[in-house]
C-alpha cells in the first residue's frame, strides 16, 4: 500500500511537458511489470476493423492485439475514431441507428460477431466504463454494484462478499462501506466513476474497456482511478482511451496512436508505451506526443 502511495506521488509530480519526461514515466512503470507476462485475463484481437455511421466511414482497417493482462492506451486527437473503435469491441456500436462494421473481434480466439453468439454474454465478458459516470440513480450504492447480476440474471452464492470485493478492487470500499444503502447520486463524480468500475467488475469481465474514464474528473479522483487501473490490470485486460498523455504514460503497457486526416480514423502506430513516447517510428506520432498538435 505504501508503495502505491509513493507511486501516486510520482505520478502527480510527473506532470511535466515534453515526451522525454513521459517516456521516463513509462519506462519507470515497465520496470516492475513486464507486459504480457501476466497469465491471467483473456487476450483480445481486433482484425481489420472498419466502422460506419450510415455512409460515413469513421474507422478504417484497424488491427490490434491486446495481450492478456496488459493495459493498452488509445490516444489521438478527438474525432479520430477511438470511441467508435472500442465500441465495436463489445458490440455497443450496433445500437446506433445506421451503424455498421466490418472485420473481426476475437476473444480467446472466437469471433464476437459470429452468427449465433449471444451478444449479452459478450458484454458480460467485455465490460465498459463510460466517459461520464452513469450509476443508476434510482438504486442505492450496493444495488448499483450488483445491478449487473440482476440485469444479466446471474446468481452468486454470497452477494455481500462480492459487493465488498468489487468495491475494494475499485478502491471505493473504505469510503462507502458505511452507506451502502444510500443513493448513488450523493457520491462525488470520482466516487461515482469508481462505483461504475465496481459495477462492471461484479459480472466478472475478462476485458475492461474504458472510454476517457477520467475526463470529467478532478486530478485527485483521476489519480485514484489510475491506481485502480493499476490494480485491476493484474487480473484483467484493459483498454483505455485517454486524451491525457501523462495518463497514458502512467497506466499503460502499450500505446496505440490513432489519427484521422479529415477522412476515417486509422491506426498510425502501436508499441510499448515507453517506445511510443521516446522514439516513435512515425513523424505524426512524434508530433502528437510532443504536443505539437492535437
Amino acid at each position: 500500500m505504501s508503495d502505491e502511495m509513493k507511486d501516486g506521488e510520482n505520478m502527480s509530480t510527473a506532470n511535466v511537458t515534453g515526451s522525454k519526461a513521459l517516456s521516463d514515466v513509462a519506462a519507470n512503470r515497465m520496470k516492475d511489470r513486464m507486459p504480457g507476462t501476466t497469465p491471467i485475463g483473456t487476450g483480445l484481437e481486433a482484425r481489420n476493423i472498419h466502422a460506419w455511421f450510415s455512409k460515413h466511414l469513421a474507422v478504417e482497417d484497424v488491427s490490434l492485439d491486446f495481450n492478456a493482462g496488459t493495459v493498452t492506451a488509445l490516444i489521438g486527437p478527438s474525432g479520430c475514431g477511438k470511441s467508435t473503435f472500442i465500441r465495436t469491441i463489445n458490440r455497443m456500436h450496433e445500437f446506433i441507428p445506421g451503424a455498421a462494421m466490418a472485420g473481426e473481434v476475437l476473444l480467446n480466439g472466437e469471433d464476437v460477431y459470429a452468427r449465433g453468439v449471444d451478444v449479452t454474454k459478450i458484454r458480460l465478458k467485455i465490460g465498459m466504463v463510460f466517459q461520464k459516470p452513469n450509476p443508476f440513480p434510482s438504486m442505492t450504492i450496493g444495488e448499483n454494484v450488483l445491478s449487473g447480476l440482476k440485469l444479466a440474471q446471474l446468481k452468486v452464492a454470497n452477494k455481500d462478499d462480492l459487493m465488498e470485493d468489487c468495491l475494494e478492487r475499485a478502491g471505493l470500499w473504505s469510503e462507502v462501506k458505511d452507506r451502502l444503502g444510500a443513493h448513488a447520486g450523493g457520491l462525488s463524480g470520482g466516487q461515482q466513476q469508481r462505483l461504475c468500475i465496481a459495477r462492471s467488475l461484479a459480472v466478472n469481465p475478462k476485458v475492461l474497456l474504458m472510454d476517457e474514464p477520467c475526463s470529467a474528473l478532478d486530478p485527485g479522483s483521476t489519480l485514484r482511478i489510475e491506481e485502480t487501473i493499476h490494480e485491476l490490470s493484474k487480473t484483467m485486460t484493459i483498454i483505455i482511451v485517454t486524451h491525457n498523455m501523462q495518463q497514458a504514460a502512467r497506466v499503460s503497457d502499450y500505446t496505440a496512436f490513432f489519427l484521422s486526416d479529415g477522412g476515417p480514423g486509422k491506426l498510425i502506430e502501436v508499441g510499448p508505451t515507453s517506445e511510443i513516447f521516446s522514439r516513435p517510428r512515425d513523424q505524426r506520432t512524434e508530433n502528437y506526443v510532443s504536443g505539437r498538435f492535437g
Partner: protein, 327 residues
C-alpha cells in the same frame, strides 16, 4: 500607467430600458387577454354552478355527498326532496378505476412497443391512429360500445364471474351482466388509451442514453434494460398520464350514458348491471327534472367540476415534474 484611487462615490446600476416595438406590444396584449379570458371563463363556470347549486348544498349539507337516495316528489304543489350523490360518486370512481386498471397497462405496453420495438413505419402509422382516436367524438365510442363491445363484454363478464366470482368485486346478486360498470369501464379504457400512451411515450423517450448504455454494457437484454432503467425513470410520467386519463374518464358523459344502466344504488360489484357516474346521471335526469332537482343537478355539476379540476391540476403537475426532472 497612472494609479487609480478607489472611487468615493457609490454607483448604482443604470436602468436598462428597451422600448418594445408596437407590434410586439399589441401581440402581447392579445395573448394576455386570451390567456386571461380562459381563466375568466373557468371561474365563471365554477361560480355559476356554485351559485345555482347553493340552495341544495345548504339544505342537504354533507348528505349531498354521503347520501345514497335521490328523490323529489310534488304533492299539492309542495315539493319534498332528498338529494344524495353518494352512489354516483362511487359509480364514478368504480368505472374510472376499471378504466385505469385496463387502460394503464395497455397504454404502457403500447408506449414501450412503439418506442423500443416497433419498426419505424409501424411506429408512425400507430401514432397517427392513436392521435385520431384521441380526437374521435365520444358518441362514436358510445355507439361502438353499445352495439359491438357490449355483447362481447357480457361474455367476458360471465367468464370472470364464473372463475373469479369468489372475489366480492366480481360477484353478482342476480345474473344481470348487461350495461354494467365493467362495460362502461372498458369503453372508457379505450377512450383514455391515446392520452396515457402519448404521455408515457414522451417520458420514456427522455430516458438518458447513458443509463440505457450502462445497462446494455452490463449484459442486459432489451426487456431487462427497460425494467431497470426506462420504467423507474418514466414511472412518474406514467402516473401523471394516468391522472390525465382519469380526468377524462371522470367527466365522460355520452359514452357512459349509452352503455351503463344508471340507477341510484351504491353498487361496488363491477360486473353487475347497475351503476352510474355523475356526468351521465346529470344528462339522464335533466329533461324531466323539477325545479328543486334541477338545482341539485347543478350542484352535482359543481362537484364534478371540482373533481375534474383537482385531478387535472395534479396530473399536469406530475407530468411536468416527471418530464423536467427525470429523477
Amino acid at each position: 500607467m497612472s494609479s487609480i484611487s478607489p472611487s468615493q462615490t457609490t454607483v448604482s446600476p443604470r436602468e436598462i430600458f428597451t422600448k418594445p416595438r408596437v407590434s410586439d406590444r399589441i401581440f402581447r396584449g392579445v395573448l394576455n387577454v386570451m390567456s386571461f379570458s380562459s381563466l375568466a371563463i373557468l371561474t365563471l363556470i365554477g361560480s355559476f354552478l356554485m351559485l345555482r347549486g347553493f340552495q341544495t348544498f345548504q339544505s342537504e349539507g354533507l348528505h349531498f355527498i354521503t347520501g345514497f337516495d335521490w328523490n323529489s316528489t310534488v304533492n299539492d304543489g309542495v315539493e319534498t326532496s332528498t338529494f344524495g350523490l353518494g352512489s354516483m360518486l362511487i359509480g364514478t370512481l368504480l368505472i374510472s378505476g376499471t378504466a385505469l386498471v385496463i387502460g394503464v397497462p395497455l397504454s404502457v405496453l403500447t408506449a414501450l412497443y412503439l418506442n423500443f420495438y416497433a419498426p419505424m413505419q409501424i411506429r408512425k402509422f400507430m401514432i397517427t391512429i392513436l392521435d385520431l382516436m384521441a380526437a374521435f367524438p365520444s358518441i362514436l365510442y358510445g355507439l361502438w360500445g353499445y352495439f359491438i363491445l357490449m355483447p362481447m363484454a357480457e361474455y367476458w363478464a360471465k367468464l370472470l364471474n364464473k372463475y373469479l366470482g369468489w372475489i366480492p368485486a366480481f360477484s353478482v346478486p342476480q345474473p344481470a351482466f348487461t350495461r354494467s360498470p365493467f362495460v362502461a369501464g372498458l369503453v372508457l379504457a379505450i377512450m383514455i388509451i391515446p392520452i396515457i400512451t402519448s404521455v408515457s411515450r414522451e417520458v420514456f423517450s427522455q430516458t438518458p442514453l447513458d443509463r440505457i448504455q450502462a445497462a446494455y454494457a452490463l449484459g442486459a437484454t432489451k426487456w431487462k434494460m427497460i425494467k431497470t432503467v426506462v420504467l423507474p425513470f418514466g414511472s412518474g410520467g406514467v402516473v401523471g398520464g394516468a391522472m390525465l386519463g382519469l380526468g377524462r374518464a371522470m367527466g365522460e358523459t355520452v359514452a357512459v350514458y349509452m352503455v351503463l344502466n344508471i340507477a341510484f344504488s351504491a353498487n361496488l360489484k363491477v360486473l353487475y348491471g347497475v351503476g352510474g357516474n355523475v356526468a351521465s346521471m346529470i344528462v339522464s335526469r335533466w329533461g324531466e327534472s323539477t325545479l328543486l332537482e334541477s338545482k341539485a343537478l347543478l350542484a352535482a355539476g359543481f362537484v364534478l367540476f371540482m373533481m375534474t379540476l383537482v385531478v387535472n391540476f395534479l396530473a399536469n403537475f406530475i407530468v411536468k415534474r416527471a418530464i423536467k426532472s427525470g429523477k
